[in-house]
């Protein structure tokens, strides 16, 4: 039987791409497939699941699934291995978003896009985690078969106990508007704050905005956001910074509404998480957000903060509307069933 080798730049703990690779590894192993993860950096907590790429002994028989989502020296190095090369495209954030805050990441993303173009005629197949990503590859000259399969999500992680202190602190009768995602410019936290400004001032003063996410690498953006909150007179905005997984779970458990204004997502895992936790979603329609959301949540065509605030109010006040949205979200969640998604990957990777 063929061996499936997953290669990625960083196999990091708690990271979307790393979790996907790990869930796929477990799914492949459960099906009796010989498989291994290799990365340039392996988080010590994942050393039982991944090895350093320097230890990889290439074989012509291997099927290499290369996870591509940033600039990396591996992006070109993988073409030197003799096995069948398939890329799993997670998308790269357009570098322009980072220009004012993180020049190193801006350069990394710019190089990443060049690498994606370089790989166009060197891969046998590309599996994108969204149709949006596939269309981007097609635009960049990919003529190989382009398939789509979402991120493999291990939902058993979400059954772990949420942090009790956080649950208690935020179960105080105040409406919790939550967004989960790294504090970084493409996620448009400033737009979330403006929506919230209108919501808390004109619709529901008994509310707070909780921005869950690490700001490492974007300290300048984070400080600017804090200053913006002050200028808007918002005292009820919570920046959690980097927190434990059990605390993230606690924020989902106490959330009344999930609000997303991101302008670039190759998939957007937090939307699926919000669906899983039964939190109604309001999201701006950009990049892959519409397709991940499906009919499971209210999608907004335009950025109109006052209208968004009014939509939030409708959902939080109308019990039957909230119920309808949650039913649609539950239905939409079936598309991300980890077993079915892993089967699709198997089909692509092991098919002749």
């Amino acid at each position: 039987m063929k061996r499936i080798v997953q290669i990625l730049d960083s196999y990091s703990y708690g990271d979307g791409m790393g979790n996907h690779a790990g869930a796929l590894l477990n799914a492949l192993k459960a099906r009796g497939v010989d498989t291994q993860i290799y990365a340039k950096y392996v988080d010590p907590r994942l050393s039982h699941m991944g090895k350093n790429v320097a230890e990889y002994v290439p074989s012509q028989e291997d099927v290499i699934l290369y996870h591509l989502g940033a600039g990396s020296e591996l992006n070109r190095k993988v073409t030197e291995y003799p096995g069948r090369l398939i890329i799993n495209y997670h998308n790269i954030t357009p570098p322009e978003f980072f220009a004012d805050y993180n020049p190193a990441l801006e350069a990394n993303c710019r190089a990443g896009y060049e690498d994606v173009k370089f790989l166009a005629d060197k891969v046998e197949m590309a599996i994108s985690v969204s149709a949006y990503n596939s269309s981007e590859l097609a635009r960049m000259g990919y003529t190989c078969p382009l398939h789509q399969a979402p991120i493999v999500m291990d939902f058993s992680d979400y059954t772990k106990a949420p942090d009790a202190a956080t649950v208690e602190k935020y179960s105080d009768g105040v409406s919790n508007i939550v967004f989960v995602g790294r504090i970084c410019p493409n996620k448009k936290h400033e737009d979330l704050m403006l929506d919230f400004y209108y919501y808390t001032k004109y619709f529901n003063p008994n509310s707070r905005l909780i921005l869950v996410g690490n700001y490492r690498g974007f300290e300048g953006y984070y400080l600017k956001l804090k200053k913006y909150a002050k200028k808007l007179g918002l005292t009820n905005v919570v920046f959690t910074g980097h927190i434990k997984f059990s605390q993230i779970l606690a924020y989902y458990h106490t959330a009344d509404l999930f609000l997303c204004e991101s302008e670039h997502e190759g998939f957007c895992i937090p939307l699926v998480e919000a669906m899983h936790f039964g939190v109604p979603i309001v999201a701006y329609d950009s990049s892959a957000i519409g397709e991940t959301l499906g009919t499971g949540g209210v999608l907004l065509r335009e950025k109109n903060p006052r209208l968004t605030a009014s939509v939030m109010d409708q959902i939080l006040r109308d019990e039957s509307l909230r119920k309808t949205i949650l039913e649609q979200q539950k239905e939409n969640l079936k598309r991300f069933d980890s077993k079915a998604v892993a089967d699709r990957y198997m089909e692509f990777l092991l098919g002749d």
Binding site: E190, V298, L300
Partner: protein
């Protein structure tokens, strides 16, 4: 598909908004000025704190 499903929600939200006559805020994110060194200094201090915590095993 999503737009059709939730069109009535948007209509209701628009109607509710029209009744409230909410003024637009003059505060814009673009007007928030932040010297570049502040972000760098914050990044440096956070990094030192992280390293200290790691060294102390917290």
């Amino acid at each position: 598909m999503n737009y059709e499903t939730y069109a009535p929600v948007l209509e209701k939200a628009k109607a509710a908004l029209a009744k409230k006559n909410i003024p637009e805020t003059a505060v814009s994110f673009c007007d928030v000025r932040m010297p570049a060194w502040m972000g760098k200094a914050f990044w440096f201090v956070s990094g030192v704190k992280r390293k200290m915590k790691r060294r102390l095993g917290k």
